[in-house]
Amino acid sequence: MSKEVLSVKNLNMHYETLSGDVHAVKDVSFSVKEGESFGLVGESGCGKTSVAMSLLQLQADNAKISSGSIQLDGVELVGMNESELRKVRWDGISIVFQGAMNAWNPVVKVGEQIREAIREHYPEKSKAENTEKIESLFKMVGLDAAVIDRFPHELSGGMKQRAIIALALSCDPKVVIADEPTTALDVVIQDQILNEIKKVQQLLGLSLIYISHDIAVIAEMTDQMAVMYAGSIVEIGPTEKVFSTPKHAYTRLLLESTPSVVGEKKKLRSLDGEPPSLINEIIGCSFSPRCPDPSSDCENPIKEMGLVEIEPGHFADNCCVDCG
């Protein structure tokens, strides 16, 4: 049994806005083991990126973590000051953002930018050592060593994204968060990048947190997964179990609304309506207004919300289990 690298317990986070507090993350708990890849899936606005930002303590100025704990290797990240966090970021936990390939500084060579990140954390390392390190990283993500001396505009989108992955790995983090790293890319290049990430993860024994709206990508990339809806996790468990025996109505609808090129062409189910506003407190089941077949329990707001264990390691939200 490998040990837990990252554990998040009862995380609550809200944004203070003009129209009121937006509760983006509600009571989210999960843990990631060493060498494991964990997927977070949900619609846009469900809070998955907010979770990623809280993990790095990089949330926006108006975001407040009201309660909960985030522990990286037993070290509490919530409440750390900026200089302590700087050490943890990149070194302990790093991130590949959505569209990060556009984040390269256009006038500095790619290699120099990665070198700078390493220097920030390991000032004692020599330039030659760093170059060697970058070369090996580039090799790992399928880039030519010559790319070190290239400017970002000389690279294609896929190459820039590979280099971003190398940048994320440059300080040997224990946990890498990948927040929709392939969304802006073409299918063919997405496929290559996914393979690259998978390969690197296995090679280095990294823990990966993969965030996506695309359930097909999650299916291929992760061992454990959680489905988020309206700020909370509605189903969590081993990916295979979640796909084979989805318990929550939302998970089931997500699975049945994803077209595939493989297998019989089947009628897809559509999910009507909009996710609820996160400003107002949601009483009862957050999904019941969109649930195609809400059970009587669903509409009964008194019922206690929360995850219940359905089979070992597989939890689903109490309210919408086996309806819809």
């Binding site: 846009s44 299918v187 097909a216 990916t239 994803t258 077209p259 595939s260 999910l271």
Partner: protein, 317 residues
């Protein structure tokens, strides 16, 4: 004999690009290079390919947004019920003919004028073409909103686009497109900006409308899985050319062209137990076809109305 809504023959769209500030010679970029297809009544064709392969350029040329540089395009004319070439139409006739062609855009946030109300947006085509009196037009707008599932209409008419969600906006776009009762609609990735859960309801709506109103779509997408759901036939585009075109299931189950194979094998499958093979590009099958038919004919039929391009693509994929 099947009736077509559009027949495209050898469509070309070339751009001249100057070689740089000091260079005098001009390069020609063949964004769309000699493509041909036709769409029969009530059927939809998916145009699938990577970004930059020329699929959006094709769409814009067919919608007369950018002039084509070569080839022959014939549209079905609703009034005369004949195929018609519109290259030499006068301004007034061309304006009249534009009723037959409509387009749905990718980005629901950019395709509706943010300063107009939903009512004005949907009314615009009727106003441009001066169809019916005011009351007729307003009734038509209410009717079409009902058709696309935005009810009650009075709740949407006075609103501005930014007050609606992405899915609702895309429904408004569809309503605006269909109010002219076109038979041919070009859809440029209409669901790619939408959330998964909303995507299917928009796709279902479009499929139902296609059946009820006898609309044919040219459905442009980078996602083969979406194209499979929406289209009867799929054309795979690569480097400005159509490399393979066939019935949807035939294409997915029996791909011949290496690029098609590559594309199909790249798509993630929503099933963790499915073991997706990485496709190793090989040209054997294509070479065999070229050897059999020669390269004189740009597209060869290998049976089942399955066409393969014999164009040399070695080293490009």
């Amino acid at each position: 004999m099947k009736k077509n809504v559009i027949e495209v023959k050898n469509l070309e769209k070339y751009y001249e690009v100057s070689g740089g500030f000091f260079s005098r010679n001009k390069d020609i970029v063949k964004a769309v290079d000699d493509i041909s297809f036709e769409i029969p009544f009530g059927e939809s064709l998916g145009l699938v390919g990577q970004s930059g392969c020329g699929k959006t350029t094709t769409a814009r040329a067919l919608c007369l947004l950018d002039p084509k540089t070569g080839g022959d395009v014939k549209f079905y004319n609703n009034e005369t019920e004949n195929m018609q070439n519109i290259d030499n139409l006068e301004d007034e006739e061309l304006k009249k003919f534009r009723r037959n062609i409509q387009m749905i855009f990718q980005d629901p946030y950019e395709s509706l004028n943010p300063r107009w109300t939903i009512k004005d947006i949907i009314l615009e085509p009727l106003n441009i073409h001066n169809i019916g009196d005011l009351q007729d037009r307003e009734e038509a707008v209410v009717e079409i909103l009902k058709t696309v599932g935005l009810t009650p209409a009075s709740n949407y008419l006075p609103r501005y686009p930014h007050e609606l969600s992405g899915g609702q906006r895309q429904r408004v776009s569809i309503a605006r497109t269909l109010i002219m009762k076109p038979k041919f609609v070009v859809c440029d990735e209409p669901t790619s900006m939408l959330d998964v859960s909303i995507r299917i309801s928009i796709m279902d709506l479009m499929l139902n409308l296609a059946k009820d109103l006898e609309v044919s779509y040219l459905y442009i997408t980078h996602d083969l899985a979406v194209a499979r759901y929406m289209c009867n036939r799929i054309a795979v585009m690569f480097n400005g050319k159509i490399v393979e075109i066939a019935e949807t299931e035939e294409l997915l189950n029996n791909p011949i062209h290496p690029y098609t194979k590559r594309l199909i094998s790249s798509i993630p499958v929503p099933d963790p137990s499915y073991d997706r093979k990485v496709y190793d590009v090989n040209y054997d099958e294509l070479d065999a076809i070229i050897a059999k038919h020669g390269t004189d004919n740009p597209m060869v039929d290998i049976g089942n109305e399955h066409y393969i391009s014999t164009h040399d693509v070695k080293g490009l994929i």
